[in-house]
């Protein structure tokens, strides 16, 4: 390449060691400076609080079918009521908890599975890598929702655990591939050679040396999986799969659609949970982008000068 202008000395000074507290302060500063991070974090906190103490905002019983049926929003019912007379706003607030639980659970599990498979494939190599990579590729191509639908139909009535299980089973492939790629890149680095030379056991090397270096990718995997899970779980429940007795935003959507809320009833019964799902998904996406930008300066916005002719 031609026009590189060296901006720093040929001898790059090493970054001085900082204490853990300084590092944490650095992270806090970075988060506050990045708009996406601040917004995402704010939303996440609000949603988590709502999930933890729903009675704070909606003191009623979400399943109490005692009100007028499918009426629109009013002061008494901020989002109107459902077909059988439940208060939509109450349901929305109370449904937050299960929705969030499913999202986080799947996010954690998917990350765990993909770390296991990806890092093992990268580090063990050979035939194991070949087999695991093939498995990953296959699951990457197979369309998720159709498979999810088939699996869920078998497990109908088995409750939340079933949904979490099938979502994990179909969602791990993407992160696994990314983690494997990074694992391969790290594998040849010097500090690993040093660990091998010290005679450390493979398992130790993987856990104590490789994983910390992949931390940022692991966090990114979690955030990405969460984003994906929010919409997919809701989509499954929207179609009627998953436990219909649970109150989640997805099940609300299902009943709303089945009862023609948009066409002839209370449209907010459908639009509100839909918007809630969108907001939760956006929250995790914001955090994901922000995390990327904070850890990779190359992604930050470019200042544009006068355009050249």
């Amino acid at each position: 390449m031609t026009t590189a202008v060296a901006v720093r000395d040929a001898s790059d000074e090493p970054v001085p060691e900082r204490g853990a507290r300084a590092a944490a302060a650095g992270v806090a500063r970075a988060v506050l400076r990045n708009r996406k991070a601040t917004l995402g974090l704010l939303l996440l906190v609000v949603i988590t609080v709502i999930a933890a103490v729903p009675s704070l905002l909606a003191p009623g019983d979400p399943k109490a079918a005692i009100y007028d049926q499918q009426v629109g929003p009013s002061l008494a019912h901020l989002l109107g009521t459902t077909q059988v007379g439940e208060d939509v706003f109450t349901q929305l607030i109370w449904g937050t908890r299960l929705t969030l639980v499913i999202t986080v659970a799947v996010g954690v599990l998917v990350t765990a599975v993909s770390v296991l498979i990806g890092v093992t494939a990268a580090y063990v190599g050979g035939a194991t890598d070949g087999a695991l990579s093939l498995l990953t590729d296959v699951f990457l191509i197979i369309p998720t929702l159709p498979l999810l639908i088939v699996l869920s139909t078998y497990l109908e009535g088995s409750g939340t655990i079933a949904i979490i299980a099938v979502l994990t089973a179909t969602g791990w492939a993407f992160s696994a591939r990314q983690l494997r790629a990074q694992g391969l890149a790290l594998r040849t680095r010097d500090f690993l050679e040093a660990a091998r030379a010290r005679g450390e056991r493979r398992r130790y090397i993987i856990v104590a040396e490789i994983l910390p270096n992949m931390l940022s990718l692991i966090v990114a995997s979690f955030l990405g999986s969460a984003t994906y899970t929010v919409a997919t779980a809701a989509g499954l429940q929207f179609l009627g799969l998953g436990n219909s007795n649970d109150i989640t935003w997805g099940t609300m959507l299902h009943y709303a659609q089945q009862n023609g809320a948009l066409e002839s009833g209370n449209p907010w019964w459908a639009l509100a949970p839909g918007a809630a799902v969108a907001v939760l998904g956006t929250t995790f996406a914001l955090l994901n982008y922000a995390f990327d930008e904070i850890t990779n300066p190359a992604l930050r916005p470019v200042r544009r000068g006068r355009p050249a002719a």
Partner: protein, 323 residues
């Protein structure tokens, strides 16, 4: 004296950034006569490539020209925009880049890329394109059968020559070459240099040749211009500069290249590394590395002064000190 073909005065180019602008080219003068071979030499990041791209009006953000004039054939090149600039491109001056593998479109055949350039400036038939392609390929010694070849199918040397062939499409009067030989082995380098000078003799175009390899280019150039940290530090006819380098930096460069003939001397490099151009050293930019540094060098920035036909920027010579 005739009006020079290319007259660059007081040109400055900076890379804009939030962390601070980097002055890559600092008030540079450069004049090129018709048919002249001017070599622009210096270490990496001295600004020579940036200078050449600025002249060719090929800078891209964040690089920007921050001052100076560029006159080509008497016309102001800086304020030329849009169609007028596009019209000049390739017909009057062309560019050869360092790596043909990157500079040639990997998805297009040679003839297609040559044709693109031709069709951008005039209505040409496919046979006219074919004809001219064959002509220029022959000029650089490539078998015309390769006109349908893709860049990856050619050897490194052939690719560079193909780039030169492309630069010759309109027989321009000036070709700006940015380290065209750096990606080649020494044998191919020599061959390419020979080719370039032969073509220069035949077709009469001027060349601005950017390189870090002083010894290679000094056999072929008419004039040598030495750059350091964005400034011209010495400029003279090649033979003069070769025989009598004035600036301590030029002397250091020459001392670093061994000579096959002549007495065996101790090889010396120039200790240290080029300065950070966000905060260039006060006074003379070379003073931290200069073997003959004086006290005044640390505070006074020398100007370019004429020393018997050699332009030199050093306080050791009269005229360089600011008044």
């Amino acid at each position: 004296m005739a009006v020079p073909l290319l007259d660059v005065r007081d040109l400055s180019v900076a890379y804009l950034s939030e962390a601070g602008d980097v002055g890559a080219v600092d008030h540079v003068d450069l004049a090129v006569e018709a048919g002249e071979f001017v070599a622009l030499v210096g270490e990496s990041s001295c600004g020579k490539s940036t200078l050449v791209f600025a002249i060719a009006r090929l800078l891209a953000p964040p690089a920007e020209q921050t001052g100076g004039t560029i006159t080509f054939r008497g016309e102001d090149l800086v304020h030329l925009r849009g169609e007028a600039l596009r019209h000049l491109r390739w017909r009057d001056y062309s560019v050869v880049m360092q790596s043909a593998m990157n500079a040639l479109n990997p998805m297009k055949s040679l003839e297609a890329q040559f044709g693109d350039a031709m069709r951008a400036h005039e209505h040409v038939s496919r046979s006219a394109i074919r004809q001219r392609t064959v002509e220029v390929l022959r000029l650089v010694g490539i078998d015309p059968v390769h006109r349908q070849s893709y860049p990856h199918q050619l050897s490194g040397g052939m690719r560079q020559r193909a780039m030169i062939a492309m630069a010759l499409l309109f027989s321009p009067s000036l070709i700006l070459m940015d380290e065209p030989t750096s990606a080649l082995d020494v044998v191919a380098q020599r061959s390419l240099m020979g080719q370039i000078t032969q073509l220069q003799r035949e077709l009469g175009f001027a060349v601005v040749f950017v390189t870090h390899d002083m010894s290679l280019v000094s056999h072929y150039s008419d004039r040598l211009v030495v750059m350091y940290a964005g400034q011209v530090v010495e400029a003279a006819p090649t033979a003069t500069l070769f025989g009598r380098p004035l600036h301590p930096y030029s002397r250091g460069l020459f001392d670093a290249f061994p000579s096959i003939r002549g007495p065996r001397t101790r090889l010396t490099g120039i200790p240290g590394s080029p300065p950070d151009l966000r905060r260039p050293p006060a006074g003379c930019r070379f003073h931290p590395r200069c073997p003959v540094v004086m006290e005044a060098c640390r505070t006074q920035a020398p100007r370019l002064a004429d020393q018997d036909g050699t332009l030199v920027r050093c306080l050791r010579y009269p005229g360089s000190a600011a008044t």
